[in-house]
């Protein structure tokens, strides 16, 4: 057997002789060349390749020469079997059920991860609820234009969301009730809710201002005037009188949103409190908190994915549809800021193009983690998330390009006039 020589040996030989270039070198005979790194000796890949080209064309290994036909094989993969199922929750009630909504929305019911239809078909596609507010609010430039004409009128705002932006649902945020904003009374807030219910026939989400001291009273009054409509009341949380909100939800036939902040144990705790108060399982949706792309999306993603997996593994405390406040994506400065505040950054381009994508990427990412419902703001973003989740769900999407393409044609695609 001939002596075994490794590339490391060759490298050290070359170094010793100060050889920079090899010319007319042929290595013949029983030479074994070991590529890669042997323990302790790191050969820069560039040197390997330099040597290799220097050595010249390698002989093909015997195996490669032998192969004249493809190795026959079948691809097989096991299905994932879960024992848990997500609760099915319907939001909105028709006249038959004591409400005035046209088309209630049902979410949840999953027995597999989102869009894993090869394991088990997802029963309902995710839904989009488009936000409106009870007072004019500062909005990113990219969004403002869509809502400027309706900002003073929540009813008109809600209508626009449905008519022009195809919202499945509308969320009315009663932010003016916050004592640090306008301190609007609960009674007045309830009037706004009535207005919105009259303006649109889709199911609605009623959101407080997020003020833990004021929200119980505001949401209670809102639940009362919306009696029987099966609204989603947003939201109960551990730092407030959630009992009062839960009670109002039950008394007036609504669904409760159980909101915690990126904490799986807190979510279990709050849900258990709600069970104890007697809230039926089919009246609970959870909001484990959405963080924007680049600003904690990793935490939100993993938190939601873990909850969904725990639920499918049988943790009944977490087996609820998940709502995501995707509008939070606008908190990312990249979504709205004109230029980068960081001098070393490459150009950020127009913010108008970035903003909707921040919303889309945040929404879609959380949809793949387990989100069933997305509260969104930018019409184009809402439309894109709706379309892509519908496609992944397996629905026929209206206006989907009929054009058929070959998957490998991109290699020779002639950019033509589009190049920029």
């Amino acid at each position: 057997m001939a002596k075994k020589i490794t590339l490391a040996d060759i490298a050290s030989i070359l170094e010793k002789y100060d050889v920079v270039e090899l010319e007319d070198v042929k290595i013949k005979g029983d030479v074994e060349i070991e590529l890669g790194t042997s323990a302790g000796v790191a050969i820069p890949p560039s040197l390997i390749h330099a040597l290799q080209s220097a050595i010249g064309v390698q002989e093909l290994p015997e195996e490669a020469k032998r192969i004249g036909d493809l190795v026959e094989s079948k691809f097989e993969v096991a299905k994932a079997e879960w024992i848990g199922q997500i609760e099915e929750v319907t939001i909105g009630a028709t006249s038959a059920d004591g409400g005035t909504r046209d088309k209630p929305v049902t979410i949840g019911g999953e027995k597999s991860l989102p869009f894993y239809n090869f394991d088990c078909q997802m029963p309902y596609p995710p839904v989009i609820s488009v936000d409106c507010f009870d007072m004019p609010i500062p909005l990113a430039k990219a969004v403002r234009g869509y809502y400027a004409d309706v900002m003073e009128d929540p009813g008109e705002w809600a209508k626009k969301n449905v008519r022009e932006f195809g919202a499945d649902m509308v969320t009315i945020h009663l932010i003016s009730t916050d004592p640090t904003i306008k301190d609007t009374s609960a009674r007045e807030a309830a009037k706004t809710v009535e207005e919105v219910l009259q303006a649109v026939k889709v199911p609605i989400v009623i959101g407080g201002s997020g003020n833990p001291d004021k929200d119980p009273a505001v949401l209670e009054a809102a639940a009362e005037v919306a009696e029987g409509e099966r609204c989603l009341i947003a939201s109960a949380n551990l730092n407030m009188d959630y009992e009062r909100i839960a009670k109002a939800t039950m008394d007036h036939g609504h669904v409760i949103l159980s909101w915690t902040q990126l904490d799986i144990n807190a979510q279990k705790t709050l849900n258990r409190y709600l069970f104890k108060l007697g809230v039926p399982r089919e009246d609970i949706v959870i909001d484990p908190t959405t963080a924007a792309l680049g600003y904690g999306l990793d935490y939100a993603f993993t938190n939601i994915e873990r909850m969904r997996i725990a639920a499918l593994k049988g943790d009944a405390d977490l087996a609820f549809p998940i709502s995501c406040g995707i509008t939070n994506a606008w908190g990312a400065r990249e979504a709205w800021m004109k230029d980068s505040p960081i001098r070393e950054d490459s150009d950020w381009g127009p913010s108008a193009y970035r903003g909707p994508l921040y919303e889309i990427v945040t929404g879609l990412t959380l949809g793949i983690a387990g989100g069933d419902m997305f509260m969104m703001m930018h019409p184009k973003a809402a439309d894109a998330v709706k379309r892509v989740t519908q496609m992944l769900f397996g629905a026929d999407v209206e206006g989907d390009k009929a054009k058929k393409v070959e998957m490998k044609d991109w290699v020779t695609w002639d950019v033509g006039g589009l190049t920029k």
Binding site: G40, G294, Y295, S340, G394, V411, W413
Partner: protein
């Protein structure tokens, strides 16, 4: 990896507790190996001849389920694959998805070089690091081997990024490869029709290769064939269909391939996966470039979240690059490590000695949020960043990392007294219950701010300047 507990790993280690690896015991080292936080090579004694068999066996057992493939050479070479898990909370994903942006051989040379420079030099600041792009995919559009080779040559002159050579024509491929055979480029691609020629080329040049087929039986066959011919640096492209039902099928192929590789331990498909979001342009491109770029980012989002180890894309507009690259940073952040910033005293805007003084934790996300809430609202102020071991305010109050004492230490060691005249500090709303103790411990006047730093501007209207100080 094939080992499920540190004990199993420990059995292969020398067991001398010599500490050369920096750990007190072999068992401690073993648990770090299990979590992939240490490399086997760090146990030097294991590579003595007497342990030759054990080290070899252990290296095999520790190998990640999905093969790791390196593309390119030098400082910007890219490792892809090497994954062990299906969900990031199970451990962490290791090698982030590599982003390759395209150029093509019908571009004018100047335009080509300019585009290559843009891709090579692009950067975006993110949580203390600079995000960059990873590779350049060179497409043979002309079908002409000489034109392709010329294009490859120009690109190689202009960048040190890894290259992906894209053509299904073996002759074109070889001409191009010839120009950069010392750059370890990724070959794209071998398929059902050209595999023999491509197999011959990649064996001869010893370069990584992509195998393409949306038919997973065929893809499995191709991979088995290449692997039995001794080729192991393989990337699998199961095809990316950009819309409708085809998109749902694409999603399914990626998930099932990765599941087969990791859960079912089907070695013949346990390779890095390639997704091509660029196919969005085939459907949307001739109508609306903005729409096409949006759909490209949508496909990239799906790829990043579900198992693409490398992606080829077209739009290099900032609105595409920023979210695409940021999402990868998010998904591939190690969830085991709390991200923190250096504690200290920060200035926001141009504060004076009358400006408010806020306080927050050194949890990076909290810090950056507060900082950007203040700066975007033009609140000139000082910000004390307390060392809370990288925990957020609420958790740090509960866990005792944020206390009256740690606040006092921070005020003293950052000499805050020299900066403001009012001797008033604003605590985060989530730390409200520390206010009394903090007043006692520091002698400072304490105000409780809002629970969300986004509300600071509104809070300022009512609370600043403080009434107790005239």
């Amino acid at each position: 990896m094939k080992l499920s507990s540190p004990m199993e790993i420990w059995e292969y280690l020398p067991g001398t507790n010599c500490e050369e690896c920096g750990e007190k015991t072999c068992l401690a080292f073993a648990s770090l190996l299990k979590e992939r936080q240490k490399k086997l090579e760090e146990c030097k004694p294991l590579f003595e001849p007497e342990y030759a068999e054990k080290s070899k066996k252990l290296a095999e057992l520790l190998a990640p389920e999905v093969r790791e493939v390196e593309i390119g050479v030098g400082a910007r070479a890219s490792k892809i694959g090497g994954e062990d898990i299906m969900y990031r909370h199970e451990l962490t994903f290791f090698n982030r998805t590599a982003l390759a942006y395209d150029v093509w051989d019908t571009m004018e040379e100047e335009e080509l070089r300019e585009r290559v420079r843009k891709i090579t030099n692009w950067r975006k600041f993110y949580v203390g690091e600079s995000l960059r792009l990873d590779a350049i995919a060179i497409r043979s559009v002309s079908g002409d081997a000489k034109a392709f080779a010329g294009c490859v040559k120009h690109v190689a002159e202009e960048t040190d990024l890894p290259l992906v050579l894209c053509s299904f024509d073996a002759k074109v491929m070889e001409e191009g490869l010839n120009e950069v055979s010392d750059r370890n480029p990724l070959i794209y691609a071998a398929d059902e029709t050209n595999w023999k020629e491509i197999l011959e080329i990649v064996t001869r040049y010893n370069v990584p290769v992509t195998l393409f087929s949306p038919d997973l039986d065929m893809l499995n066959s191709l991979a088995s064939t290449f692997s039995s011919a001794g080729v192991e640096d393989i990337v699998l492209d199961p095809g990316t269909y950009p819309t409708g039902e085809g998109l749902a099928d694409t999603f399914s192929r990626f998930v099932r391939l990765r599941r087969a590789g990791i859960v079912d331990e089907n070695k013949s498909v346990a390779y890095p996966l390639m997704s091509v979001p660029m196919t969005a342009w085939m459907v949307h491109g001739d109508e609306d470039a903005l729409d096409a770029s949006y759909w490209e980012t949508i496909l990239a989002t799906i790829g990043t979240v579900k198992y693409a180890d490398m992606m080829i894309l077209h739009s290099i507009e900032p609105h595409s690059l920023i979210p695409e690259r940021t999402l990868i940073a998010n998904i591939y952040t190690d969830p085991r490590r709390p991200v923190s910033v250096d504690p200290g005293l920060r200035e926001v805007g141009t504060p004076t000695e009358q400006s408010p003084l806020f306080l927050t934790s050194n949890f990076a996300l909290t810090y950056y949020t507060v900082e950007s809430d203040l700066s975007s609202n033009k609140v000139d102020s000082y910000l004390v960043v307390v060392d809370t071991d990288g925990l957020g305010v609420e958790a740090a109050v509960a866990g005792g990392q944020l206390t009256a004492e740690t606040i006092k230490d921070a005020l003293e060691s950052y000499e805050v007294e020299n900066k403001v005249k009012h001797k008033t500090i604003v605590l985060p709303g989530l730390a409200a219950r520390l206010s009394g103790e903090t007043e006692d411990a520091t002698g400072w006047n304490v105000l409780v701010g809002p629970r969300d730093s986004g509300r600071i501007p509104g809070w300022m209207d009512d609370n600043w300047p403080p009434k107790t100080v005239s």
